[in-house]
C-alpha cells in the first residue's frame, strides 16, 4: 500500500472508522497468518494469533503513534500473541540448539555441500515454493524459527529481534547463523544440482 494512503487510512481508523481499520488489516492479514504459522507451527494457533492480534490492534489503534509503519506495529503485537501461545505450550523454554551437529568448539558443520541448479523461483511454482519453505522452517526448534522469522522474513534488526523476544544479542546471532545454515541445508535437498527430494507436487 502506498505510504500516504496508509497514513490517511490509519488516521481515519483512529478517528473511529471501523471500515478503514478493516481495510488496513486486510492488506496484511495473510502476512500475519504466515507469521503465526511460522512461529507456532500450526494453522489453528496461527488463526488465533491473527484474530487476537487484530483485535488488540483494533482496540489500541488510537494509541498507535506512527513512529513505525502500521505493519511493523501490527507484527510486534502478533509476535507477542504468538510467543504467548508457545509459552503456554511450554515450547519456548524447551527449545534447545541442535548440538549433534556441533564440533568441539561449538561451530556448526555443513554437510550438504552442493551448488543449486536453476533459481528456485524458476524451478518450481510459487505455491510449491511456499510449501517447501513452510515445511523446512518447521525443522527448526520454536525459538530458532521465531528468530529467523523476525530477522529474515520480517527484517527486524538483530537488536529489535533480541528485544522483542527477551533474548541477548549473542544468543540471537548464534541461533540466526545456525538457523540459516540448517535451512540452507534443507533447501539444498530440494534445489541442489543432484537434489534427491521431489517437489511436493512433482514439479521440477
Amino acid at each position: 500500500m502506498h505510504l500516504d494512503n496508509e497514513q490517511s487510512l490509519v488516521a481515519t481508523a483512529q478517528a473511529g472508522d471501523s471500515d478503514a481499520f478493516v481495510t488496513l488489516l486486510n492488506q496484511y492479514s495473510r502476512h500475519i497468518y504466515r507469521l503465526g504459522v511460522s512461529i507456532t507451527g500450526n494453522h489453528h494457533d496461527a488463526e488465533d494469533v491473527l484474530q487476537e492480534a487484530s483485535l488488540k490492534a483494533y482496540r489500541a489503534i488510537a494509541e498507535f503513534q506512527g513512529n513505525s509503519r502500521f505493519y511493523t506495529w501490527l507484527v510486534r503485537i502478533a509476535v507477542n500473541v504468538a510467543l504467548g501461545k508457545l509459552r503456554k505450550r511450554a515450547l519456548w523454554k524447551e527449545s534447545s540448539l541442535d548440538e549433534s551437529r556441533e564440533s568441539e568448539d561449538g561451530s556448526y558443520i555443513p554437510l550438504e555441500i552442493e551448488s543449486w541448479g536453476e533459481d528456485p523461483e524458476k524451478a518450481c511454482l510459487n505455491s510449491d515454493l511456499r510449501q517447501i519453505l513452510s515445511e523446512v522452517i518447521q525443522k527448526l526448534d520454536p525459538k530458532s524459527r521465531t528468530i529467523f522469522t523476525l530477522r529474515d522474513i520480517e527484517k527486524f534488526s538483530i537488536e529489535e529481534t533480541a528485544r522483542l523476544l527477551g533474548l541477548t544479542i549473542p544468543v540471537v546471532k548464534t541461533r540466526l547463523l545456525r538457523s540459516r545454515l540448517k535451512l540452507r541445508e534443507e533447501l539444498t535437498k530440494y534445489f541442489g544440482k543432484d537434489a534427491r527430494n521431489a517437489m511436493p507436487t512433482g514439479h521440477r
Partner: protein, 80 residues
C-alpha cells in the same frame, strides 16, 4: 582464515556487518575454497528466497471467521 571460521562468519558476511579487513580475508579464502564458496552462496540464496516469497492468500475460511469476528465486534459498538 580456515573453513570453520568462514562458516562462523557467514551471517555477518551476508548482513554486511564485518570489518573490511575481515571481509578481504574471508574473500581470499573463498577464492580458493569451492566448498565454502558454495555454502556462502547457498546460504545467501536461502535468506533471499525466504524474504522474497510472498505469503499465500489467506484461506477463505480463516478470512470468513476474521470478518465475522469484526462484524460482531462492530455491532457491539466501539470499545471505550
Amino acid at each position: 582464515m580456515r573453513c570453520r571460521q568462514v562458516i562462523d562468519k557467514i551471517s555477518e558476511y551476508i548482513d554486511d556487518e564485518l570489518d573490511p579487513e575481515v571481509v578481504r580475508e574471508l574473500e581470499r579464502h573463498l577464492e580458493h575454497c569451492e566448498d565454502c564458496r558454495i555454502v556462502v552462496d547457498t546460504t545467501h540464496k536461502t535468506v533471499e528466497i525466504f524474504y522474497h516469497t510472498e505469503p499465500a492468500a489467506l484461506p477463505e475460511d480463516v478470512r470468513g471467521r476474521l470478518n465475522q469476528m469484526f462484524a460482531q465486534r462492530f455491532r457491539e459498538g466501539r470499545p471505550s
